[in-house]
Amino acid sequence: MIFTLHIWRQQDSKSDGYFELHEIDVEEGTSFLEMLDALNEQLIVAGKEAIAFDFDCREGVCGSCNLVINGTPHGKHRATTTCQQYMRDYADEKELWIEPWRATAFPIIKDLIVDRTAFEKIIQAGGYIDIRTGSAPEANTMPIAKQVADEAFDSATCIGCGACVAVCPNASATLFVAAKVSHLSSLPQGQMDNQRAKKMLIAMEGQGFGSCSNYRECERVCPKEISVSNITTMNKLLYQSS
């Protein structure tokens, strides 16, 4: 399979970026990132700088990888991170445009790598249950209905990749915040802190993310299929705590 690639290159956060043209021939069983690995090896041998992009686990759970492929964060295969996209999924396309996440709160570090420290700040503002090591009660003293636990799990699967922000016209991190709030606040252990949603949303705005105006694009590109109903849950909690 031969592809024409337009890849975003940018030396650092202050430089201007541009699309660089490449061509590559790969087998269909190659993953998207393996395709970029192969290109990078060719570049290095030719004496050129490799294209910088984030990756780590390559099995869709660490949340490192983050490419916009032909305009869609994480590419065309739904509910899938960039690292789990395979070239066979792109058999009917000849040209691929590969870009970084674009959002004010995620400044570009180099090429396709962005700085997602803003997500850390949001978690630090209240995305935890305050329990000191050693002070936990016996685990089975507090039964939790299976349905509640299952729903908390669905919210907790967020991998913090930031695709929701990248696709949102407002560059809002509301789905990211709501997933954490719903996970923690729906469990009895997490109900002590009734200001969690407020604290995290203030941090979100402080970091330069926009607010939610119900485009629901985030849900569409989320690799873990986190539902926008998390936002409803969070809003309910906000209302109750104010």
Binding site: D56, C57, R58, G63, Q84, K110, F119, Q124, G127, F153
Partner: protein, 646 residues
């Protein structure tokens, strides 16, 4: 180089009382003084995040480092199956003693009794802690926690969060850590990689770090240093580990004097998706939990291997694990299952893609389980795993059996530590997969998360405090010439990598070649001649590496090629040590199968009289000539017998 008195500092007396007594004997720092002490924690996966959060809560000044862009991305996140806890919620006869015994037996009697017992003892507290943090473990309809049986255990003691247990536990620890960052007790550095350990008069007193965005080298001083930097499976190039996992932090500590224990003990996990091509960058694990309901088989006849599995009649299928191990069947421990799969494929009965002329794969079949339990039950249990499999292979495991083959997954070896998790360097601790402590020659399923968190939440906070209580806090204003020297050495190493005399090949190119050599000589089967040859080949390739490695870009910017080259350089030296260790251990035990020491029915043949010890290797200044120190293992409470899963 100083001589080592290899003292494990294991407490004496009854096994149940050792940790309690040890905690009482440990010194503590008064709360008012804790702020005066700085602890560096490198690596923020389960062990590192748990340790730094706990030390921060206690009031110490903690500095943490990770190479990823956030602690939440550490490779602990990829652990699927679960975490063991000796709660006996199922009333099936489990106890701390049974978990202890299973773990030490699973490790083929190559671990310390005191450490393993402590691990089993703490397992219960970890579950409590995680639940309180909001980790959404699976629950029964009653609302109480669910368990499953896992990886060679005959009791149900594994707690799990679908197939994402590691993710949920790591997020719990990460969130606890985030709170401490917000409160100022932890200063965290992401995208920052340790380059070297700073030694001041034989004590570990700091690290040199490289900011991966700017390339800036910096020194950080502390009262002690804790390495929780994970395992080194990526030495084989292809493994189930995340691409960034590396040995550099522990290897550079090793070169500063920390002994490296049992480097050749590497776990090959039986249920991974087989390799499909030359460009492949990593292998993907399919959770061991699949073996609870999936049946492993291969065609009985070679001529059936190319057929569609549906066309192979029941009587022509060999359910070889059930045949060979009727007592445990498909649930035999990982080392046993992996060897059996290799045996079948070596006989020419493998299925799937051909790699180097051999079909490397067997079937893991759910047809019967779906028939018996229903599609819905199987989807509920394994849905996300099936989805992952389908995404990678574009085959549907609900209708076509999965294909699996063993892959490198975990390293039991690591820095030698005593009962306090302190290495042979004073003031240098190692936790989680980075140390060698608890799994002996083979780790049981659902034990890695348990060990990482036991080390992080409970053991290191106690033992680090005990160490600090015996030190005066260092003066942060003081300038250390040793730090300047370490910085210069790190810089020189980077310059040497960037200026190879005859640059031709990429770091990955060398890494792949190294991986091939090591996988064939020091993988699932090991043999004297092959190991000796591999050592020579590794030495030659290493020489070539320093001559020909080609790195573009500079060291004053984000440069992933340079990062990789630095890690590959360390893998070369480690790979050689692994072969040396495998050669010296003239027995088979757990994962370490020496072809010369296999019983008639194909099982590992231990030689307890000669090899009931931990091999702890000391760097001599020449990576090819390490010195072996032996820590004899004494079994007072269990009797080492032959592991029999038949």
């Amino acid at each position: 180089m100083k001589d080592f008195e290899l003292d494990s500092h294991s407490p004496k007396g009854s096994l149940e009382d050792r940790w309690t007594q040890h905690k009482f004997n440990s010194k503590i720092v008064s709360p008012a003084n804790r702020k005066k002490y700085t602890v560096i924690v490198v690596g923020t996966g389960l062990a590192g995040a748990a340790a730094s959060a706990s030390l921060g809560e206690m009031g110490y000044n903690v500095k943490t480092f990770c190479f990823q862009d956030s602690p939440r991305r550490a490779h602990s996140i990829a652990a699927q199956g679960g975490i063991n806890g000796a709660k006996n919620y199922q009333n099936d006869g489990d106890s701390v003693w049974r978990l202890f015994y299973d773990t030490i037996k699973g490790g083929d009697f190559r671990a310390r009794e005191s450490n393993v017992f402590r691990l089993a003892e703490l397992s219960s507290n970890i579950i409590d802690q995680a639940v309180a943090q909001g980790v959404p473990f699976a629950r029964e309809y009653s609302g109480y926690l669910a368990n499953r049986s896992f990886g060679g255990a005959q009791v149900s003691r594994t707690f799990y969060a679908r197939g994402q247990t590691g993710q949920q536990l790591l997020l719990g620890a990460y969130q606890a850590m985030s709170k401490q960052i917000a409160e100022g007790s932890i200063t965290h550095y992401s995208r920052c990689e340790m380059q070297d350990l700073i030694m001041v008069k034989n004590h570990a007193k700091g690290i040199v770090s490289r900011d991966l965005i700017t390339g800036k080298l910096e020194t950080h001083m502390a009262d002690c240093v804790v390495l929780c930097t994970g395992g080194y499976s990526n030495v084989y190039y292809l493994s189930t580990n995340a691409k960034g996992c590396n040995t550099s932090a522990i290897w550079r500590a090793h070169k500063q004097g920390a002994l490296f224990a049992n480097p050749c003990f590497t776990q090959i996990h039986p249920t991974c998706i087989p390799q499909h091509g030359a460009l492949q960058s990593k292998l993907t694990l399919m959770s061991e939990s699949l073996r609870n309901d999936g049946r492993v088989w291969a065609p009985k006849r070679k001529e059936d291997c190319d057929k569609n599995p549906d066309d192979i009649a029941e009587e022509n299928r060999d359910y070889f694990l059930e045949r060979m191990y009727p007592a445990f069947g498909n649930l035999v421990p990982r080392d046993i299952a992996s060897r059996a799969v290799k045996l079948i494929c070596d006989e020419g009965r493998g299925v799937g893609h051909e790699i180097e002329g051999q079909k490397l794969g067997v079937y893991l079949d759910f047809a019967q389980a779906i028939k018996k339990l229903g599609l819905e039950a199987i989807t509920e249990k394994y849905g996300n795993l099936f989805e992952m499999y389908q995404r990678i292979t574009s085959e549907d495991p609900y209708s076509t059996p999965m294909r699996i083959y063993p892959a490198v997954h975990y390293t039991m070896g690591g820095l030698w530590v005593d009962y306090n998790l302190m290495t042979s360097i004073d003031g240098l601790f190692a936790g989680g997969e980075a140390n060698f402590s608890d799994h002996g020659a083979n780790r049981l399923g659902a034990s890695a998360l348990m060990q990482g968190l036991a080390d992080g939440y409970f053991i290191l906070p106690t033992t680090v405090s005990d160490y600090l209580a015996q030190q005066k806090p260092f003066d942060p204003e003081r300038k250390f010439p040793e730090a300047e020297q370490a910085l210069k050495t790190s810089k020189a190493r980077i310059d040497r990598l960037l200026n190879a005399p005859d640059p031709q090949k990429t770091p990955d190119d060398f890494h792949r070649q190294l991986g091939q050599i090591l996988w064939h000589a020091c993988g699932m089967a090991r043999e004297k001649k092959a190991l000796e040859l591999a050592i020579t080949e590794i030495q030659q390739l290493n020489e070539q590496f320093w001559q020909q490695v080609k790195i573009t870009g500079t060291d004053t910017e984000l440069n992933q090629t340079l990062e990789r080259a630095g890690r590959v350089a360390d893998f070369f030296e480690l790979a050689e040590l692994m072969c040396i260790d495998a050669l010296a251990r003239e027995e088979s035990c757990g994962c370490h199968a020496r072809e010369e020491h296999i019983t008639e029915d194909g099982e590992a043949q231990r030689h307890d009289d000669d090899f009931s010890y931990v091999s702890a290797w000391q760097y001599s200044g020449n990576a090819s000539l390490p010195t072996l120190h032996k820590e004899e293992l004494h079994f007072e409470f269990v009797r080492p017998n032959t592991r029999n899963y038949r």
